[in-house]
Symmetry: C2
Subunit: 247 residues, 2 copies
């Protein structure tokens, strides 16, 4: 019965909504319960839309909410991850992670701009729109599924992929150069192998392996070849850390 | 068996810990699972304590965590409560609520300073210690019981008792004067009746009724007579709002 109802609901949804829903599921990693929050997160003020009660229907208030959720999830992560860091250190690291530049990168990598509904000229959006809708998207997740889903999403999409504490501390600029340097010193053969290159235009995806002396030492996936190489190198670095640090 | 074990655990705890535990339960409104977080929240850096891993054991890092949790819970509350407020409004209101002055008041009213462990002269603490340990206390709740308990505590102790949006907007300075003014205009008899006056010194508690024309219109409880009167007047104001606003 439930399946049957679901089918009806599914079929009655317009095709466009269906595509939006499916794309959302892929990015979120779970099914949204109430799609209206996400629609709001991608509605630009230039549409002049209002909700049922006559209040503006756009993503600006959701940015405020998402920013707050990001702040507390990142705070808890840093608190647990860096037990040696004092209050000043934690505050500084958090602002690096939630910097405008970083949020823009996150929004751009998820290609959230594909969903935007606007009457303004997209050329006039400016860089910050990526970060703004990323924050609004987080706010929508909170309203749709609560704090725990919001937390999981931020862990999967922000922390695991982007928060690299030694790098943020400025101790490591690039894992790729660290690993290459070590290979050269140790006279080891190495190369990066692109094993996956999928998607089109805005949604490209790359998979890269780092092979050292004929063995796969690290793999990485990202939206650019450069980023995928850096991820593979980072994993290789941690696998080889003891050997590298001895040098 | 569980009861029996609990009894043993309870009895084996030193008397002092037992008192701390009981007082905590009263303030928290639930039983803490791991008391160590709360002990940390009340340990001043002057004790020079270290944890098992050699890191400083004091409340300073917990302040960072508590501040972030307060920020997100208050953000979500404002988002839901004031659907007409734009991003700038929400940001401004949040900073009023989590202002240093306000946090100090919250910490002082809960008398958290009674738990402090310090080697410094308490006279040198300054006003901000109340707000600081209040934030650390919120951080401890998060670590002990997670976001949902933290959220409930902030709703009970911060939002319900202190967050008065019209007042924060500067639209209402005092509900007491609003209600008194109305009673005088309407030639109604009114008086505040203190029906509860308990606790000693730092932990005084007052209960006040506002009686208008022989009827109890509002009740309030707080740590001072003045605050309890204001609470009672606020409730009376909302009960009478339609009548008052007509004038």
């Amino acid at each position: 019965m439930r399946k049957f109802l679901k089918k009806i609901i599914r079929n009655s949804r317009s095709q466009e909504d269906g595509i939006f829903f499916d794309k959302l599921c892929k990015i979120l990693g779970f099914k949204p319960l109430n799609i209206i929050f996400y629609t709001k997160a991608f509605t630009h003020r230039s549409t002049n839309k209002l909700d049922k009660t006559g209040n503006p229907f756009n993503y600006e208030r959701l940015e405020f909410l998402g920013d707050a959720m990001l702040g507390s999830v990142i705070a808890a992560h840093l608190y647990n991850e860096v037990p040696t860091g004092d209050e000043g250190y934690l505050t500084k690291m958090r602002s690096k992670i939630v910097s405008r530049e970083h949020l823009n990168e996150l929004g751009r990598d998820l290609n959230l701009i594909q969903f935007i509904e606007s009457k303004a000229n997209p050329l006039h959006f400016g860089e910050n729109i990526h970060g703004n809708i990323f924050e609004a998207f987080i706010g929508a997740i909170y309203l749709d599924r609560g704090y725990s889903y919001c937390e999981k999403f931020i862990h999967n999409k922000v922390i695991d992929s982007y928060v690299d504490i030694p790098k943020l501390e400025g101790k490591v600029i690039s894992y790729k150069s660290l690993v290459i340097e070590w290979c050269q010193k140790e006279k080891k053969q190495f190369f990066f192998d692109v094993f996956d290159d999928t998607g089109v235009e805005d949604q490209k995806y790359f998979g890269v392996k780092l092979i050292i002396d004929q063995k796969i030492i690290g793999k990485g996936r990202a939206t650019s070849k450069k980023k995928a190489e850096e991820k593979a190198a980072k994993r290789a670095y941690f696998a080889l850390q003891e050997k590298i640090d001895k040098k």
